[in-house]
Structures are given as C-alpha cells and as structure tokens.
Symmetry: C2
C-alpha cells in the first residue's frame, strides 16, 4: 500500500481542512467528509483506483469507452501535473474495496476578478446500490466548500432540469445565462 | 523584442494549423486568423501584454480589480505551467500596440469519453471602437476550431440570451442542460 500508485491526485489534507460546521445541520446521522457512512471513506482519487472500479462507476454516468490501465495512469498524471486544478474525490466501500461514488472540482484560473479562480463541479455519480444515503449531497457539498477553501470567487455546474431543485439546496441558482454546446464526437 | 517576457502563452503554430477552409465562406473581406484586418494581428497572449492594455480590455467585460504587473505575470506563468490547458488569444492593433480583442479556450481533461477533453470558450471581448468588424466572430470561430484541433469531444460556453443567436452561427446550441451558479465574492 506504499507504492507510487497509491499517491493521491491532490493533498488529502485539503479535505480535512473543510469547515463542515456550516453545513453539518443539513445532514442526517452525523454524516460528514470524515464520516461518510459505515465502511465508507471519502478521499482523493488515487492512481490504483483503476482496479477499484472507478471507470465502471463513471460508466453509470456516461460513455467511458475503452480506457486501458496505461491510458488511465497517463490521464491521472496529466491532471496531477496541472497544479491546483483537478480535485477528483471518490467514495470507497472499504469492505469491498470498490469506488462507489465520485465527483470532480475543476479550477479555472482567470485574469479577471483580481486574477481569481472559478470552480466547476463535474461528473457527479453515486453507484445505484448506494443511492438514498445522502452521498451525492455529501460529494457536492464537499466540493462546493473545497472550492471556497481554495479561493474560487464563483462556482458553477450544469444539470438536467430534474436536478435543479437538488442543486438549489447547496446555494446554486440559475443566473440567467444560457448554456450552449457543440459536439465533435460522442 | 527577444526577452523572456515576449514568450507566448502557447505555441503560435497551433493557430496556423487551423483548417480555416471550412469556415472561410462565412467571413467577409477574406478575414481569417492570419489576416484579421488592417493593422491587426491574431496571436497568443504574451507576457508583456500587461503593458498593451490587455487588462483594460477585460475591464470592458467584467470586474478586473487591482492587478499588478507581478500578479499578472504570476498568473500568466501559472497558466503556462498547466500543459495544454489555457489558450488565451488576443487581437492586437499593431499601429497602436494595443490589445483590442481577446477570448480564451480552456481545456478540461476527463477520464470519461476515452480519457477525452472538453473545451470551454470564456471571456470573449472586443474593444468598443473595433466592433462591427467580425472580430468577435473571428475569435469564437478560431477557438472553436482550435478546440477541435486539440481533440475536444465537446465545446461549450455560457452566454446571455441576447447572444444565443450569435453563438448558434458557430454550431452551438442549447442542449437542455441548466446552468447553475453560486458566488462567494464579486
């Protein structure tokens, strides 16, 4: 468990520094980043999560395609080589040694807003068998507070209409901007 | 003109490699990335653009705040140290040696979509005195094609309702996702 592939994508201390007191009351059963539930651990993505079902989990969200262990590691390291940019957190079922939840905070550096930073929540997913345990809520709240912690002036996300109400609980609101997309491939 | 501060944020060759033939017909007067107009040059942001009015230009878009030359350089280098991530292009009036237009392509690396990349168009601005010369259109088209060139599976942007029609010209459409925001500071 001490090989180089155990190294986290970002410093786990950042998760411990989050001021959870402000949100504590909105979670049942004392759930927090340090205590996500029985046999569950919230932590940064690690290099060996390829073998813990991380990509299978993402497959519940969208198309993952063929990703070899080498391709996964290459992407992991490319993210890590962008300082202060990628914060992929996962929930692990420590009994099964399987990743059963994940969400990503991506930071964009700006010149505007006093060389500020903007944060985006991406790719939020909780495995089917683990829904209804406030885990999606835990992931979003953790990354929202982490975005504040690392100095973002603004956080944003895109969601389906069905999830607008869910995200409003964390302080997100539509701000009148239109979201426009074009795809070059699936 | 050969000091370290002349160095571009990204390789200028990338702009020359864009396949403009596919969009050529939608621009009047033979306007292209290589020929943006009389006394105008399209190029990557450079370290010394702090002295060419780059931040004043951004001030026409939103709040820039107090940004010293040192803070600008620090942010420029931080962006440059995230490989293949920040593509800030500017339009310079070479007669006045002033930056009169700018837009940014930011790349987000993913594990999904075969470890694909997603591109976002951010902070598009053309100085008041230079509007009506297809320069905003040139900036957006250039970055959209650049996003395709560097391998994005998807491009997106947020815009005000008034600009929805403008961005539709480049192939962007609302995709039914809701854009949600929260601000921690101005």
């Amino acid at each position: 468990m001490n090989g180089i592939d155990e190294k986290p994508l970002f410093n786990p201390e950042l998760l411990r520094q989050i001021d959870w007191s402000v949100r504590k009351s909105s979670f049942k059963d004392g759930i927090s980043p340090e205590n996500p539930g029985k046999n569950l651990q919230l932590r940064p993505l690690m290099m060996d999560d390829y073998d813990q079902g991380f990509l299978n989990l993402l497959g519940q969200l969208t198309s993952v395609g063929e990703v070899t262990a080498a391709a996964f590691q290459k992407r992991f390291l490319a993210m890590k080589h962008c300082p202060n940019t990628y914060y992929v957190v996962v929930l692990e079922d420590t009994n099964k040694q399987q990743v059963i939840g994940s969400a990503t905070l991506v930071i964009e550096q700006k010149f505007i807003h006093s060389t500020g930073c903007r944060g985006r929540i991406e790719d939020v997913v909780v495995s089917e068998d683990y829904r209804g345990q406030q885990l999606g809520k835990l992931l979003v709240e953790t990354l929202t507070l982490l975005g504040k912690e690392v100095g973002c002036y603004k956080m944003s996300l895109e969601c389906k209409e069905d999830n607008v109400r869910f995200y409003k609980c964390f302080g997100y609101t539509p701000d009148g901007q239109y979201f426009m997309v074009q795809r070059f491939s699936d």
